[in-house]
Structure formats: structure tokens, C-alpha cells
Amino acid sequence: MNNLASVHFDVDHLVKDDRVHTSLYRDPDLFALEMEKIFNHTWVWVAHESQIPEPGDFLTTYVGLQSVIVVRDSAGRIRVLLNRCRHRAATVCEQTKGRATTFVCPYHGWGYARDGELKGVPMAESYGEDLDKQALSLVPLRVDTYAGLVFASFDHSVPSLDTFLGAAKPWIDLFMKQGGGYPVGIAGEHKFRFPGNWKIQLENTTDAYHFPIVHRSFLNSLDAQASDLFSFLDGDGFVEDLGNGHSVMVMIPELVDLEAELEAPVPDRFAQLARELSQEHDNATVRRIVRAVGGSGFNVNLFPNLACSMAFFRVLRPINVAETEIRHVAIEMAGGPAAANRQRLRLHELFQGPMGFGSPDDAEAWERVQRGAQGGEDLWIMLNRDMAGGDRGNVSAETGMRAAYQMWKRMMSA
């Protein structure tokens, strides 16, 4: 903690109702405090259940700055374990995903079961009575799931995940309807870094205001019908504060419930897919799949690291005060028609990732924010669009950002 407890931050001064101080993007001491007070003390998204379907299936990821293993144990229960041998600290797993019977430290061979329990210690007799294996399991995090989303927390005393997600849950349920009648699965991911603070990215999935500006070249690449769909700033969308730092930004109201309006005309860009699907599926199935294939018309932003964003999961990982890693995780209809899943892959590739038609322009804007924030030490980041809207503002309101920063203030003040 670098004596951070002794570093005084006047959090009330740094976060106002309508603005936050520039130091939130650039102060390394503040960043270290965020990792402790926020990422070590709340629910952080770590995986989707479909990524580890069988006992022994695992993946490695991060909770804040700490490497963790997400693994399904032999009894089928999901465990999240700190990736650190209890002997001399080496990581016990450096693979990003796989299937394991045990996790063995490469340094001195301490072996851990899938549930984290310390099973094997080479030449254990040398410890005599001084080795309490039961107390030397891989450090377990608290784990809970909602709608296939796996969350973990280093703090075992945090309120339940159910309480934490609260009003966000119905929106998560709506988001999962893009399975189109099939379970939501993971189809790969784009991963990239940008030189900027993690909160710049946190803000972005609740920022419709930037879309026609930053993504003009993407909009120009679309057919007229799709371009019209994405021209949502003058529409009836909205941004709503869902509590606990979460928010929803509805950009395309007609795509909130993907199981409704199934009789709506098939969009031109999905006509070929509909024809292909109709060779093997009845009309109702085709309509359900085609309506879901483009994803939802909204982003659910879950503080601090996940956005269920239209057709994918956006996951952020803070690296340091001025470096953030972003994962755009593609969603598939697990077990669904290959043609539909190919369409989903192609849509994801079109916008997302380091060579997509959208993400590089986002990354450029975020980098410019971080670079600009090196100047004007006394200036503020303004978040006051549609303050009059209260908890529910218009589509380009900065309501979601204000919600996130109020949660930030609450956690940083605790």
C-alpha cells in the first residue's frame, strides 16, 4: 500500500455532482488506492460460465492487478483462486485457458487441487511439525454468478452479488436474449491496450454523445438502413442510473427486447442470413435468430469492469494509472446455426478490435484524453450533460458516468 493510508485524498473535493477532478486520470497514488479500495473490495467480473463447462476447465484473468485462476473444480463448482503459490509466491499457472487436474508450482513442486487445496509438498518431512497444509490453500475469492456471468471478490464480506447487481439484473436478462433461443456462449475476443486511465474506458460505454463524431467513418461504411439505426442521438433512447455505479444506456429502443416484435421486417443486411436459415428452420425460429443476431440496442454498464455492450462483453483491466487493457469478448449462440454465428463474428470484426472500423478511433480519442489531462492540473472533467434528467437522462446524457463516479466516491471514502 506504500503508506497510502497516510496519503490524504479529499474525495469529496475530487468528485462533484457534475464533474470530477483531472487528478482521477493521472495520480498514481490515487490509482493504487483505487486498486485497494475498489478492485479488492467489490464484485469484479472474471468469466462467463460457458468458458469453463467441465471439471478442470480453467482460465486465468485479473482482479485489479492480481492474477487469478477461474476453475471448475471436480465437484463442478466454480472457484476463483489467487494465482500465487503459498510457498514462495510463483504463479502456479501461466496458461490463459485449458484443462487441469492440478496446479503445480514450477519452482519447488507444490501441488494444488482444482479447489485450491494444497495436496503435494515435495520432501515435506523437512518441515517437521511446521507445515499446516490446510492453511496453505491457494487464496480463494468469493464467487457468485448471475445469468452466466461469473463475478469474484477478494472481500468475503461484500454484500451479495444479488444485492450488488440490483436494478441491473433485468437488463442483464434482456441482454442475454441475444442468444436467439440458444444459450449465450463466448466466440473469442479482441484484446488491446491504450495509454490512458481505466475510467476513461469506463465512461465510454455510457457515452452515446461521441458516437457520430468518433465513429463517422464506421457510419459511412454502413448501408442506409443500418446507418439510420445507429443515428440514435435524436431518438428516444435514454441513460438510467441503476444504483451501485451501474447504468444502462438505451440507444436503440426498438432493440431492447429481442423476443418482442418478431414480426418486424428483416433488415436488409440480414436478408441473406434469413434466406440461408429458412432452408433448415421454420419461420418463427428464423425471425427469432435474425432479430437477435445483431445484439441488443443498449449497454448495461456494471461498475467497475464490465459492460454488456450491445453485442459483446467489454472488459477493462487497469494496468497502471495511464495504461488500460480492453477485451471485446464476442458472443455466440451456443449450439446455434453456423450461419448465424458467422454473422455475429463478422459483425464483431467489423467494429471491434485493434483493426476494426470503430475501436481504433475510440482508442485514439481515449489516448487524447489522457494526453490532454497532463495539462490543466486545476481543471475538471465535465459530466454535466442533461443534469435536469436526474436519474434518467436523454440518450446523450452523462447520467451513467455520474452514477459511476458517485460509486467511486462512496468506495474511495469507505
Partner: protein, 166 residues
């Protein structure tokens, strides 16, 4: 023997392929993207996968999976002046070498090559290394790209915004 002679003369030599790929690299480094489009067969696929070992590109997530239409849209975006990342894209210098023929057919050559790309942007210089898997065809005596797969050696790790073509 006459038939063999015809077959040999119709095949693309590794030297012709190297010259072609050097010219392609030069066009890309100097952002002559419209000219680059002319190097392609209309059926050609330009692919940058996210998984290092996969060949099932159509059913996998890629960074780039471009047919002729998407390739043209990509170039239009990069040259449109409406993309802030393309407008501030890194300068690049790339070397393509270590050409190895992997297969031949009448009028066609499949080869693998190494690509070392250095990019410079805003005080930072980076390297992007890749295996190139290229299929060339001869179309009315002119070489064309039938397929180009760029396997970045760090494709499954975090990249950064890439505002140019690989």
C-alpha cells in the same frame, strides 16, 4: 518434355513472388492503398486471425476477414479523413523475407514468409512480427493475391490500435 516445359513456364517462381511481395510491402508502407487494392484477385481473402494456430478462419474471430467488398470499404475508411485513428496512424517500415514455397500449381504459388514491421507514432517505436501465408495466382500474366493471412506472433495477446494495413 514439352508438356513439362509448359507447366514450368506457367508456374510462379519464388523470385517473382518475392518481387511481388516487396512491391506490396512498399505500397502499404507508403499508404498507396488504392494501388494495393489492384494487387488482389476479386475472390481474394485478406485475413488477420486472433488465434495463432487456427485455419478455420470463417468460424473463428479474426482481426480482419476481408473479401473484396470489405477490403474496399476498409481502404475507403482509412483514406476518408473521417477516421481519427487513420489520420494519426503510425509510420511503418516493413521487411518481408524468408520466402519458402509451400505448394505450387499451374499458375499458382503458395508460400510462407516472415514480415518484420516497425511502427513509429508519438514517441513510441514498436515491432510487429508475423508469418505471412500467401497464395498468388497468375491472372493473364499478372500476379494477384488470392489469399493473404497475417499471423502476428502476438495475435492472442493484447495489441494496440492499428490505423494502417498489415
Amino acid at each position: 518434355m514439352e508438356a513439362d516445359d509448359v507447366c514450368v513456364s506457367a508456374a510462379i517462381s519464388i523470385y517473382e513472388a518475392a518481387e511481388f511481395l516487396w512491391r506490396e510491402a512498399d505500397l502499404l508502407d507508403h499508404r498507396a492503398y488504392e494501388d494495393w487494392l489492384e494487387l488482389w484477385s476479386p475472390q481474394g481473402m485478406y485475413i488477420v486471425p486472433t488465434e495463432y494456430e487456427t485455419d478455420a478462419f470463417e468460424d473463428s474471430l479474426n482481426y480482419v476477414f476481408d473479401d473484396d467488398q470489405l477490403r474496399r470499404q476498409r481502404v475507403a475508411r482509412l483514406t476518408s479523413r473521417y477516421s481519427i485513428s487513420a489520420a494519426s496512424a503510425a509510420r511503418t517500415v516493413r521487411t518481408v523475407s524468408r520466402f519458402v514455397a509451400k505448394g505450387t500449381s499451374a499458375g499458382g504459388l503458395q508460400l510462407r514468409a516472415a514480415q518484420h514491421l516497425i511502427e513509429y507514432r508519438r514517441e513510441i517505436t514498436r515491432t510487429l512480427a508475423a508469418d505471412l501465408e500467401v497464395s498468388l495466382i497468375s491472372d493473364a500474366g499478372e500476379l494477384k493475391l488470392a489469399r493473404k493471412v497475417v499471423r502476428l506472433i502476438n495475435c492472442d495477446d493484447a495489441l494496440h490500435g492499428i490505423g494502417y494495413l498489415l
